[in-house]
Amino acid sequence: MTDTVVNLRLNQQQLELMDRTIAQGVAPDRVSLVRLALREYAAVHKAGAVTETAR
């Protein structure tokens, strides 16, 4: 299966917050930060929601 692209649209303030978070060492770049957010948010809010069949 191929990757799917979602085009986030963020304003300069939202990007600033992302960049300050990245500067703390949370993630190496913006894309990585979004991926981290997805994984951590899912782990906290809907652990086990995604099954292997969805891969």
Partner: protein, 311 residues
């Protein structure tokens, strides 16, 4: 606490209030004499009355019933801790209800004239040159309130007893204005008007040591930071022909950030995204997820409230 020095004492009778100069490091005790009496409260920076206590900011920081260990905050753009609630023997105060007013008693009860907190506050504040328009939203001490399932604020009877008190420690020089709530035909003060005792103390070192530190930030602005620092002195509003808008951080510009999801990541996203709100707008749903995550992980205060060091 017994080593506190008493600076002044007052009794405010039913239907009255008192403006008190409360200097930094002094404590105002508002005390029940008979019990069951609500005290409405206003507070201004003694040296700049345009800085005043803001119930809206206070309730976002401390909830609907601020008590011991919380602050009374001034309105934006000042947003400073003005007073610290050092002790509260009841623990039931209100920042939901506005002050009662003549309009309430005329509209709902048919009174041509009735004791009411707005007019009592205005009369007490007049001693310092303030006008009825300067009375601000009231911090209601000892008032027992809540929110019902329909989202309406309600008030009910209170349980304060003689000798119950709230101690307010001034963190700056303020004009503190308590008044005996004028509501005798509501549950606010158990359908009666009773006097309240006011005592001003000099705080002890032990009192001062109880105050948590709060952040001092550049965003706590003063008139020195204002584009128009002069107080408007007339009533009509007229357009300034030289006005040129200078809204900060404008224009707001959107930038696209493509995120490539592998099938397993897409599956997680599809399971998590709020289609109930965003429908098929995956970009909006991902933005929501990103900042919801950020709130969960990094926000130290309730959403919409400034962080003061504890959640």
């Amino acid at each position: 606490m017994t080593s506190r020095q008493i600076i002044s004492e007052f009794v405010i009778e039913p239907g009255t209030g008192k403006a008190i100069e409360l200097l930094k490091g002094q404590i105002l005790r508002i005390e029940q004499i008979e019990g069951g009496q609500c005290a409405d409260f206003n507070c201004f920076n003694l040296h700049d009355y345009k800085e005043f206590m803001h119930c809206g900011r206070t309730r976002t920081v401390h909830g609907f019933h601020p008590t011991t260990g919380t602050f009374m905050w001034s309105a934006p753009p000042r947003e400073r801790a003005m007073l610290y609630i050092l002790e509260d023997t009841v623990g039931r105060n209100d920042v939901l209800f506005p002050r009662c007013s003549a309009y309430v008693y005329e509209a709902s009860y048919g009174f041509a004239v009735h004791t009411n907190c707005h007019d009592i506050q205005a009369e007490a504040q007049r001693e310092y040159g303030l006008t009825p328009d300067d009375v601000h939203d009231s911090f209601n001490l000892f008032m027992c309130t809540g929110v019902d399932q329909d989202g309406h604020a309600f008030m009910t009877r209170q349980t304060s007893k003689p000798g119950d008190y709230v101690d307010l420690l001034a963190l700056m020089d303020v004009l503190a204005v308590p008044n005996v709530c004028g509501a005798d035909v509501m549950k606010t003060s158990n359908f009666a008007l009773k006097p309240l005792k006011l005592t001003v103390f000099a705080a002890t070192e032990a009192d001062l040591a109880q105050v948590p530190s709060v952040p001092k930030l550049a965003s706590q602005r003063t008139p020195r930071d204002f584009k128009n620092a002069a107080i408007k002195s007339d009533r009509p509003l007229r357009r300034d022909p030289t006005y040129k808008a200078e809204f900060p951080n404008t224009p707001i510009v959107l930038t696209e950030l493509p995120i490539s999801f592998a099938p397993d990541e897409l599956a997680i996203f599809n399971a998590m995204k709020r289609t109930d709100i965003y429908g098929d707008d995956d970009a909006a749903a991902l933005r929501d997820l990103l900042f919801s995550w950020w709130e969960d992980r990094f926000l130290q205060a309730h959403a919409g409230a400034p962080s003061i060091g504890s959640k």
